[in-house]
Subunit: 118 residues, 2 copies
DNA sequence: TTGACATATTCGTAGTTTCGAATATACTAT
DNA sequence: ATAGTATATTCGAAACTACGAATATGTCAA
């Protein structure tokens, strides 16, 4: 694989590498929203939301269009939503693993398990 | 979606947000490789590769097993490869768009197109 | 034991990211 | 023009990340 492709991918990942930006992309999943609506739902400072939107624009993850006073954002490509869906499944799979391991640990060696009650 | 899930996703993205780490995951696509083999193919400093491997371990993107002197790495979950595949398609789609736009621009206004021949 | 090898960790420095506060820009209505 | 609203940008401080050099750890073989 080419260096350019690796760089491109790593920049997309960098763009998504913050919980607030993930939240923005998830909010945009069903269609475009204005910056104001996003800010309201995110419950972060206006400036901060705007900075995160700027990162998403720079990494080409979202596109914006201006309508009068407002700016509407939407996801540039559905592929990114697919990516988030895959990771959601992955997350729950990991969670299942963890729960299973904890259950096994609890039943295998009940007398030496870690104390968590003090 | 929960805060925990968003944080988890952003950490995975953070883990993949570097060209060298993308390269590692791509190298592991066909199966496990030793740290030494990875370092050799990556052509980066040993310490640097090891640091990147440590990030990938911390973010649970790879797992390692020790065999004697060596450490073998593999991808923890195929879902991550799926993600990279989606982004590859995305990358080429973007590229196609760009090429198409350039062609259109070139044919629509032939008399005022950008000079590229000097 | 000793030495050699494979890999990981620590350290210092440089560069980047994040945040809120303040400020700037751009559009609308009066 | 002026004021109000929506959004973006700039600034400085704190936190984080990346790198190479040096060092540490762990395993094998003699």
């Amino acid at each position: 694989m080419s260096d350019a492709l690796r760089k491109f991918k790593s920049e997309i990942f960098q763009g998504l590498a913050h919980p607030t930006r993930i939240a923005i992309v998830e909010l945009l999943r069903e269609g475009e929203l204005s910056a104001g609506t996003l800010i309201e739902k995110l419950r972060v400072e206006q400036a901060n939301a705007s900075q995160h939107l700027s990162v998403l624009r720079a990494k080409q993850i979202v596109v914006s269009r201006k309508v009068g006073n407002q700016v509407y954002y939407s996801i540039r490509d559905r592929a990114l939503i697919q990516v988030l869906d895959i990771l959601r499944r992955y997350f729950y799979a990991q969670l299942d693993n963890a729960v299973t391991m904890l259950k096994e640990a609890a039943s295998e060696q009940p007398k030496s398990r870690l104390r968590t009650d003090r």
